[in-house]
């Protein structure tokens, strides 16, 4: 049963990927009629939408993209908000269905530690090298 659903999702995904790869066209995301009247809830939905990646687009969030996929996920997110789910519950649901790839912000886990730390490692090593260089240059100067 479960694998059947996965297969169906994969097929739909592939079809979406194929159609939108054929025309990478920014047709508008037109969520008129799918907005919440309460500004706070709407802001929450928009914020959540910005954290989710459109899987058939070139790096756009589902908030920015006009693809069918993005529209489907937007409706799904809003339905779950109506159902009273929390942000993290909604994200967990989408991660279970599509994987971490749907999150704009990569998760912090052992295989992404290097991703998160590398910039600061370079900064640290660079700083240390700079420190030694300046010390040496200053001792020559003196």
């Amino acid at each position: 049963m479960k694998s059947g659903r996965g297969l169906k999702a994969a097929t739909v995904f592939l079809l979406l990927a194929m159609t939108s790869a054929a025309q990478i066209v920014p047709v508008l995301a037109a969520p008129a009629g799918e907005t919440f009247s309460d500004p706070a809830t709407e802001a929450r939905a928009r914020n959540l939408q910005r954290q989710l990646r459109c899987l058939v687009c070139a790096g756009e969030s589902i908030d920015d993209s006009g693809s069918d996929f993005a529209g489907d996920i937007r409706r799904l997110v809003r339905q779950q908000i109506v159902d009273g789910k929390s942000d993290s519950q909604i994200e967990d649901f989408l991660v279970a269905r599509y994987g971490d790839v749907i999150l704009m912000k990569p998760p912090v886990q052992p295989d992404t530690w290097l991703l998160w730390l590398a910039p600061f490692l370079v900064l640290g090593v660079g700083g240390a090298v700079a420190w030694v260089t300046v010390k040496k240059a200053a001792s020559r100067e003196a």
């Binding site: 790869a21 025309q23 990478i24 066209v25 920014p26 047709v27 508008l28 995301a29 037109a30 969520p31 008129a32 009629g33 907005t35 954290q51 990646r53 070139a58 790096g59 756009e60 969030s61 920015d64 993209s65 006009g66 994987g99 971490d100 790839v101 749907i102 999150l103 704009m104 912000k105 990569p106 998760p107 295989d111 992404t112 290097l114 991703l115 998160w116 590398a118 910039p119 600061f120 370079v122 900064l123 660079g126 700083g127 090298v129 700079a130 260089t133 300046v134 010390k135 040496k136 240059a137 200053a138 020559r140 100067e141």
Partner: protein, 642 residues
């Protein structure tokens, strides 16, 4: 006939580039006078033949010669002339030919200007020749734009309408002028490692400047295009292809600063060589990322694995060769300049540490998902939130330090005096922060901080220009470039913090309020463009009962390509953009409309322009200055402001 002519010209260019490589490298020896002459003339000859090949392809595009496969696949008779021409480089084969053309132009410049010693120039030409022959071989074997079709189709397949845009017509040549401009710095660095000649940093500086200016303009153009063309009101998406152009820019910026220290005080000599190698290496990696189809996006019109493989081998040889040369020769260079820990050298070093860390951040963020997927099949996305948490703080810290550097003299300086001279800039920073806190809502820590730093940068630049009457062009150039950073920062912070948007369905005659604007929808007309049909919305921007301006966002259909496109309409006051994009037909004359109000958005690109102007000023000062620079003046002891 015309296709064969182009092919033949390219073959001659290949032969000349090989001659140039061999004779240039031979000319690095002290006695090889004839070889040096051969290198110079073959560089010019190669330029002529590559120019001929490029002209031939352009002619085929302009005359819609569909017997040439590249033209048939990417052009159409109904396309406006300007997009027939830009169509030459809006595809893989033609864009690689443009790449080689730019490389040939830079080689010609190196040959004509003869900057630096004879042996240095000759060796640099040799390295350029190696690069040119590798890329021409790549074109002839995997990406030949002159292949024929028989029978020739009656009509071409057209060009992706996204690419039919004036901004994007200019974007690739600009970016390539930057990418490939770094090849000159690379070649001079490799030449300096071979002949051990000093003064290479000075010889290569104009090329570094041209490359940096072109990269700055190219990135700004690309971002502007994304803003008005893609219809979501954003200006930077941290898309891998954008990142591929940002990395060389960051390293080129570091290189400009480091090379200055090398030239003026002999500091960081090996480091500057390494940066020159890294800058062009990142250009090559950027080309690989974009051209190999490893990343699939609108830019990756090549999805052929042989091409990817060929480029990968080419990159490995170029980078590996240069690094091997560096490893062998760098230790023989004299190192070890002497400077006090409070000096301009130290600030330039810090500048480099932050820029390299920022570049590492973009590098890791771009390549990590690919590597992780290849290693264990885990798929992750690295989007804007990652860069907000890593790149932003590193770059922010760099910006804090920017005003201090130019205030310190070489070798030894007085930090306290420099600091006191900057009090007015600190005052401007405080005012900027208070203004944001007091009148603009919603208040945000990030926006307040960004405006304070922008005030700090711009204030210090004003002080630099005011205090140093009679200073050389370079001081003004630096002040302009640093002020440009501040301007861009304000634009980025302003739009990010205060952008508002409205998504509505409008009926004819209906008024809508978006932020401070009142809009009246006057309906949609069907228009016929040269190669598209458009639904054009007529939207009046109202001032009371008067119409202040008409905005005409369109929804276009390109029948030749079978694609839909949005054409946005932007009304700008210079300080604030009203941005409209037309959505789909909701029946009964009603249409979906997406409106954004982006405060300060124009400053993003204005800042880029100001930075580029700074670069031009510096270049102008350089080319005017024939004699070796006088020794740097005694440390600038800036007085405290009154």
């Amino acid at each position: 006939m015309i296709g064969e002519l182009g092919q033949l010209a390219l073959c001659f260019a290949l032969a000349l580039s090989l001659v140039m490589a061999v004779s240039g490298l031979m000319g690095a020896r002290a006695t090889a006078l004839a070889a040096r002459k051969t290198a110079t003339s073959s560089a010019l000859g190669m330029l002529v033949f590559v120019g001929l090949a490029f002209g031939t392809l352009t002619y085929a595009f302009v005359t819609s010669d569909f017997s040439v496969m590249d033209v048939a696949n990417n052009s159409h008779t109904l396309k406006p002339l300007v997009y027939k021409i830009s169509g030459v480089w809006a595809n893989h084969e033609g864009s690689m030919l443009l790449w080689v053309l730019v490389l040939a132009v830079y080689s010609g410049l190196v040959a004509v200007l003869q900057r630096g010693g004879e042996r240095l120039t000759s060796a640099a030409l040799g390295v350029q020749g190696l690069l040119a022959s590798a890329f021409i071989l790549f074109i002839l074997f995997t990406s030949n734009p002159f292949l024929r079709l028989d029978p020739a189709p009656f009509e071409g397949a057209g060009l992706n309408p996204l690419l039919q845009d004036p901004g994007l017509a200019m974007h690739p040549p600009m970016l390539y002028a930057g990418y490939v401009g770094l090849s000159a710095a690379f070649s001079y660095a490799a030449a300096a490692l071979m002949v051990g000649e000093e003064g290479w940093a000075r010889a290569a500086r104009p090329f570094m400047l041209i490359a940096w200016i072109a990269l700055t303009c190219g990135i700004a153009l690309g971002s502007w295009w994304a803003y008005y063309e893609l219809g979501w009101g954003g200006f930077w998406a941290w898309d891998p292809v954008e990142n591929a152009s940002l990395m060389p820019w960051l390293i080129a910026t570091a290189l400009l600063h480091s090379a200055l220290a090398t030239e003026k005080s002999g500091a960081f000599r090996t480091w500057t060589l390494l940066l020159a190698i890294a800058g062009f290496s990142l250009s090559l990696i950027g080309t690989f990322l974009v051209r190999s189809g490893v990343l699939s996006s609108v830019h990756a019109f090549a999805s052929d694995p042989t091409r990817g493989f060929f480029i990968m081998v080419l990159i490995a040889l170029a980078i590996g060769g240069a690094l091997a040369l560096f490893a062998v020769r760098a230790p023989t260079l004299q190192g070890g300049a002497a400077f006090s820990s409070i000096s301009r050298e130290t600030t330039l070093l810090l500048n480099n540490v932050f820029l390299v860390a920022a570049c590492a951040c973009v590098f890791v963020g771009t390549l990590y998902p690919l590597v992780l997927d290849a290693l264990n099949g885990t798929k992750i996305s690295v989007g804007p939130p990652y860069f907000a948490l890593t790149f932003a703080p590193i770059f922010f810290a760099l910006l804090l330090l920017v005003p201090i550097g130019p205030r310190l003299g070489w070798k030894r300086a007085d930090l306290k005096a420099a600091w006191q001279a900057l009090y007015p800039a600190l005052g401007l920073a405080a005012v900027a922060a208070l203004v944001v806190l007091a009148i603009v809502s919603p208040r945000g820590v990030a926006a307040t901080g960004a405006f304070a730093v922008a005030g700090w940068l711009i204030g210090a630049s004003i002080l630099d220009v005011r205090k140093r009457k009679g200073a050389r062009a370079s001081a003004f150039a630096a002040a302009l470039a640093h002020a440009g950073l501040g301007i861009t920062l304000m634009g980025v912070a302003g739009t990010t913090a205060w952008r508002s948007e409205a998504l509505t369905v409008v009926a004819p005659g209906q008024k809508t309020v978006v932020g401070p604007y009142t809009l009246r929808f006057d309906g949609v007309t069907r228009e016929k463009g040269p190669n598209y049909i458009a639904d054009r919305a007529h939207i009046a921007l109202m001032d009371g009962d008067k119409v202040q301006a008409m905005l005409l966002p369109e929804h276009r259909f390109y029948p030749a390509e079978g694609q839909d496109m949005n054409d946005t309409a932007i009304h700008t006051t210079g300080w604030r953009d009203l941005y409209l994009a037309l959505g789909d037909d909701r029946g009964g004359g009603r249409f979906a409309l997406r409106a954004y109000v982006s405060p300060l958005a124009p400053l993003i690109w204005l800042g880029g322009l100001v930075m580029a102007l700074g670069g031009f000023l510096s270049l102008w000062g350089r080319l005017r200055m024939k004699e070796p620079a006088p020794q740097p003046a005694a440390p600038v002891m800036a007085q405290a402001a009154e």
